[in-house]
C-alpha cells in the first residue's frame, strides 16, 4: 500500500495523437466519459459531469495544473471513483499526472495519482510537530512497509 498509484501503458499511436486525446476537452470526454463545459486551461477549474452509465449525476471538477505539450498533462481533483454520493470537498485533492514519451511504434503513457496521504487541514499542525523527517521520506516508508 503506497500513497500513490502508477499505471503505464503503451499505445500504438503517435505522441501528438495521444496528447490531443488527453488535452482536447472533447476528446478527453470521449474516453474518460465526462461531458466538459469548456477547454482545459492551466490554473483553471474544469467542470462538467460524468457520462459513465449509472454515474451521470456525478459532477466532474478538476483544477488543471500543467500542460507541457506532448510531455505532461496534470490536474488535481477529488477522486470520484469510490463513492459518487459522497461529498469530497473537505478532503485534500489528489494529483493526477499523465506523462507521455515517444517509443518505437507509438507512445508510452504513464499515469500517476498521488497525494492520498495528505493530511486534512485541521490536523496539519499536530502532524508537522510530530513529524520531523518530511512527507517524501514518509511516503517511501509506507512503500517499504507494504512491499516488504
Amino acid at each position: 500500500m503506497k500513497d500513490s498509484i502508477e499505471k503505464s501503458i503503451e499505445l500504438k499511436a503517435p505522441v501528438e495523437r495521444v496528447w490531443h486525446a488527453l488535452t482536447d476537452h472533447r476528446q478527453f470526454g470521449e474516453w474518460f466519459r465526462v461531458k466538459l463545459d469548456g477547454p482545459f486551461e492551466v490554473g483553471e477549474v474544469s467542470r462538467g459531469h460524468i457520462t459513465y452509465p449509472g454515474y451521470e449525476h456525478v459532477q466532474w471538477e478538476a483544477r488543471i495544473q500543467a500542460m507541457e505539450p506532448e510531455r505532461l498533462f496534470s490536474f488535481t481533483w477529488h477522486p470520484y471513483a469510490v463513492d459518487p454520493d459522497r461529498d469530497y470537498v473537505d478532503e485534500p485533492p489528489t494529483l493526477v499526472e499523465f506523462r507521455l514519451e515517444p517509443i518505437s511504434g507509438g507512445t508510452r503513457l504513464v499515469i500517476t495519482e498521488s497525494g492520498f496521504s495528505r493530511i486534512p487541514e485541521g490536523r496539519r499542525m499536530e502532524a508537522l510537530r510530530m513529524n520531523e523527517s518530511g512527507w517524501e521520506e514518509q511516503t517511501s516508508n509506507i512503500q517499504a512497509y507494504v512491499e516488504a
Binding site: V18, Q27, V82, E91, E113
Partner: protein, 112 residues
C-alpha cells in the same frame, strides 16, 4: 477481501494514510502487527523513546483505528487492528481499477 464494498467506501482513507506517514508510528505498527498487545512501558523500552512520545503516537494510531487500547490492571495495552490498512489497500485497488478501465477506453480511442 470479502468485506462488502459499501463498507470499504465509507471509511475515509486519508486519516489512515496520514497516521502511517510517520517513521515512528510505522515502526509501532510493524511491532504490533504480530497480534500481541503491549503496554506503553514495554513499547517505551523497546523503542528508546519517551513515554510521552510513544503515548502521542499511539493516540494518533488509535484515532485512525489502526490500534485499540484495553485497560489491563493499571496499564493500557495496545493491539493492532488490521481492518483500516486493509481498507485503504482496497481503496487504492479500486482507484487502480478505475484507471485500468479508463486506459483501455483511451487505448481503443487513440488506436482506432
Amino acid at each position: 477481501m470479502s468485506r462488502p464494498s459499501a463498507t470499504v467506501a465509507k471509511r475515509d482513507p486519508v486519516p489512515v494514510f496520514a497516521a502511517l506517514g510517520d517513521t515512528n508510528r510505522l515502526m509501532l505498527v510493524l511491532t504490533l502487527r504480530d497480534g500481541q498487545s503491549r503496554s506503553i512501558s514495554r513499547l517505551t523500552s523497546d523503542f528508546r523513546m519517551s513515554r510521552q512520545a510513544i503515548t502521542k503516537h499511539l493516540h494518533v494510531l488509535e484515532q485512525a483505528g489502526i490500534v485499540r487500547s484495553r485497560r489491563v490492571g493499571r496499564e493500557n495495552h495496545f493491539s493492532y487492528v488490521p481492518e483500516p490498512i486493509e481498507d485503504v489497500r482496497s481503496y487504492l485497488d479500486r482507484v487502480c481499477e478505475e484507471w485500468d478501465d479508463a486506459l483501455s477506453r483511451l487505448k481503443s480511442f487513440v488506436e482506432d
